[in-house]
Subunit: 175 residues, 2 copies
């Protein structure tokens, strides 16, 4: 029986993939489709190689991420049954700290500040389950690792894959 | 043999006690000595009951905290032998997130962003040792809890007490 679920932000509840492609189209006038970047590392997914890195360092980028489709309702449902907390590797982009906090207040106001963790590495965080789009974060995790689908992780086969939030709730309820 | 040590910020490496008394003297022109507030809860330590709360919500308060005496040298020494990371309950005061990050960059630049954790509750953090001035944080900790002395915890007798950073290094080296 599981009790606690740690949920990553970018790529899991915050749609960094869609946002990156939208920003690239707006700033460089080049349309890239999600299927064009299947299996590519996130930082090297765009033709202009430092574009993603620049976006990640641009004030406002994290604050304006759209929520992942279905994430708000699904996480709200899960909070009724499980101890849900949000774990984000925010320290690499320190200007994102306040942006991420405000973003959570706006989109996930039902999650208390008590349940938020902004960290560098995630290897010091314990929970029964971790939902993350990065295999490197799942690798060192001691509980049940669940991989949330993203274009960059499509070739990963080592973890139970959550295709979207509807599927995520189904999988979690069977644990 | 211990390997990882989680270190709290306020009251352990950042001297919030001294800073609070100094701010109170500057803003209210009343001198309170540390020995006057022995055993008093931090939030109720000053004659004007909401003074500490106001300070905690004032931009710049966390950014200008003086380091605790001996903390920088002691932590630098410990990083040579142990996996040191900083764990701060910063989420209650979200404006402190960037201030705390900048403060660490200034005073503890030898600690990588990878080793920083800003959270709400600390009960999801694992390490071999936790150094904290709040018994409530030590209570739920699964490793070795060490209480860093502060005026507000002087009546606490349930934990090994670290009287200062010189003593802290001695105690840690005997674990």
């Amino acid at each position: 029986m599981i009790d606690s679920i740690a949920i990553d932000m970018d790529g899991v509840i915050a749609d960094i993939e869609l946002h990156t492609l939208n920003w690239y189209q707006k700033k460089c006038n080049v349309v890239i489709h999600p299927e064009d970047i299947i299996g590519l590392p996130q930082l090297e997914a765009l033709p202009e190689k430092d574009a993603v890195w620049k976006f990640l360092h641009t004030p406002g980028f994290f604050r304006t991420l759209p929520p992942v489709k279905g994430a708000i309702d699904a996480v709200r449902r899960l909070t009724r049954k499980y101890d849900i907390f949000i774990v984000s590797s925010a320290m690499e982009f320190p200007h994102s700290l306040n942006e991420k906090y405000e973003w959570l207040q706006e989109h996930f106001p039902f999650i208390s500040w008590r349940k938020l963790i902004f960290c560098g590495e995630k290897n010091r965080i314990t929970a029964d389950v971790l939902i993350d789009d990065y295999p490197k974060n799942l690798r060192s995790f001691k509980g049940i690792p669940l991989l949330f689908s993203a274009m960059h992780n499509m070739h990963e086969t080592n973890y139970t894959r959550l295709h979207n939030w509807e599927n995520a709730v189904q999988v979690i309820e069977c644990l």
